[in-house]
């Protein structure tokens, strides 16, 4: 790979393969053979080869768009980089532990937005003092100050998404992975969230952006990795790769 050597590598993905073994449940069992099928289920596994030898290196201040059709292995690759999906072959090295942008799973719908800001911040690894210091910024960014003491279950989906994004980006990440999170909220919030991503990148961070929106990738990324069926198709400057990708899609 023709890589500039003066920049510090932050993430090295070296010939990564990921295989899933999944139970192929197949046809619904009928009453007659249900007993037999129950025993057989153990053996009926199928191996899905989600990534087939992907290698690339990400450098400091890179913001890398990751594109590909549905089921191409983008999310698997991101989850492998975060360390949530073990690689069956090859390894991934990183300067610090990469984090996925997303905090939704830590939040509790029955609690107020205020409580959730605290809980989400703590889940991201902030201390209570740090959360308190950032509390106003988070609420301000989410733009739902008037509703912050209401339980989260009463929020609209847009409001929930904005709150989640505001909490998730409150922590400075060295290596951040954003999986299609920019398409939330109204136009105004989208612009603000894209600006926030650029800000993270400018603070000596590295950002991976997985998206189907070529517009947001063009706006935020300087480099694009194109994955198709678990294979790295192309890796290069944004415009070139997107042009090739769109060319392949329209064919």
């Amino acid at each position: 790979m023709a890589a500039p050597t003066d920049r510090k590598p932050v993430v090295v993905v070296d010939d990564v393969h990921v295989e899933y073994k999944v139970f192929a449940t197949g046809k619904r069992p009928t009453a007659a053979d249900s007993g037999r099928r129950l025993m057989q289920r153990q053996r009926k596994t199928r191996t899905v080869h989600a990534l087939k030898g992907v290698s690339f290196t990400a450098y400091e201040n890179d913001s890398i768009g990751v594109i590909g059709t549905n089921g191409s292995g983008k999310s698997t690759l991101m989850r492998a980089i975060v360390g949530l999906t073990p690689t069956s072959q090859g390894s991934i090295y990183a300067a610090s532990r990469p984090s996925l942008l997303g905090v939704g799973a830590a939040l509790i719908k029955d609690l107020s937005g205020e409580r959730n800001v605290i809980l989400g911040g703590l889940a991201l690894g902030l201390t209570l003092d740090e959360v308190e210091a950032k509390y106003d910024d988070i609420v301000e960014f989410s733009g739902i100050r008037d509703f912050i003491e209401l339980p989260m279950r009463t929020y609209s989906s847009g409001m929930t998404a904005r709150l989640k994004f505001a909490i998730a980006t409150a922590r400075t990440h060295e290596i951040l992975i954003v999986d299609e999170a920019l398409a939330v909220g109204d136009q105004k919030f989208r612009n603000r969230s894209e600006a926030r991503i650029r800000e993270i990148r400018d603070n000596a961070g590295t950002v991976f952006l997985v998206s189907h929106s070529m517009r947001s990738i063009r706006d935020t990324c300087n480099r694009v990795v194109w994955i198709e069926k678990g294979v790295l198709m192309m890796d290069g400057p944004t415009d070139e790769v997107i042009a090739a990708y769109e060319d392949a899609q329209s064919r």
């Binding site: 073994k21 949530l84 984090s99 905090v103 939704g104 509790i108 029955d110 809980l119 889940a123 339980p151």
Partner: protein
């Protein structure tokens, strides 16, 4: 030069490895605020939509004690062999409730939070520990009920009641260790969640909650010996010996040693056992 050497040269680490035990535990300690808040907020959310709210934390075990007291104490007459049957039963049910909720709901602490485990990186031990912390907070009001039951039946508060503090500490440590074990086992065998209520029930009927193991089996030395080493029975007996007075409630000093051994052993084993599979918890297969 291999990629690994090159990566090491730039100070890059392999992603997804399990940290050594010391570093892991330090990381868990660093997350203590998260563990505490998760426990507090979950407790709040669990009862927030009930009309009576947090009152259910106390009402549920009280109703439990009422049902068992009526059926076993009154209808089956187990109260005849026990002095101060009401506080005996209340202490038994409250303490067992603490154990069984840790044991059964703790088992699901990883599997029920799969989305959280898959989206954020934090030491997974935080989840079962948060659950034990949540149950501990619920146990607080139950201790008050236990004290009230003891006072109402004629015990007078005395300095020796402070022994309740080390007892609760030991009991909590024991529960935490056990929760770590069941939390991991459930990840490997989901079917365990179906079985756990029965195991919990087995302990409920054998630990002497509403009958007295000593009064009923005093001429079965083998059974008595087994009961001596049954941790739940030990903790319950100590709790009653602290709060109640009378010939039935003399303090069995050796139970403190057995209880300490159970608590320390369970926590050590649970921690190692849980940590050993740390990389496994986020996987979807």
């Amino acid at each position: 030069m291999t990629v690994a050497d090159e990566a090491a040269q730039y100070g890059l680490h392999r992603v997804g490895g399990r940290p050594p035990l010391g570093r892991y535990l330090a990381e868990v300690w660093r997350r203590r605020e998260f563990i505490g808040s998760l426990a507090r907020f979950r407790l709040e959310a669990e009862n927030g939509r009930n009309r009576l709210g947090m009152a259910w934390v106390v009402l549920k075990p009280l109703l439990n004690a009422g049902v068992y007291g009526l059926i076993f104490g009154v209808l089956l007459q187990t109260r005849r062999e026990i002095d101060d049957f009401v506080p005996y039963l209340v202490i038994g049910v409250m303490m067992f409730e603490y154990f069984s909720t840790c044991f059964t709901t703790g088992a699901k602490s990883i599997t029920a939070n799969a989305a959280l485990v898959q989206s954020l990186s934090f030491p997974r031990m935080s989840l079962p520990l948060a659950l034990v912390a949540q149950r501990f907070l619920q146990f607080g009001p139950m201790v008050v009920i236990m004290l009230l039951a003891a006072v109402v039946s004629g015990s007078r508060p005395q300095p020796s009641w402070l022994l309740l503090i080390p007892l609760v500490v030991l009991f909590t440590i024991f529960n935490a260790g056990l929760t770590l074990v069941t939390a991991r086992l459930t990840v490997h065998f989901r079917d365990l969640t179906q079985l756990l209520p029965f195991i919990s029930r087995f302990f409920f009927y054998t630990s002497g909650i509403f009958f007295s193991v000593e009064a009923r089996f005093h001429d079965h030395p083998t059974l008595m010996r087994i009961a001596d080493f049954q941790p739940i029975h030990e903790f319950l007996t100590l709790g009653r010996a602290i709060l109640l007075s009378g010939p039935q409630y003399t303090m069995p000093t050796e139970y403190w040693w057995y209880g300490t051994a159970w608590a320390a052993g369970m926590l050590a084993f649970g921690t190692l056992f849980f940590w050993a599979a740390e990389e496994r918890y986020g996987r979807t297969d």
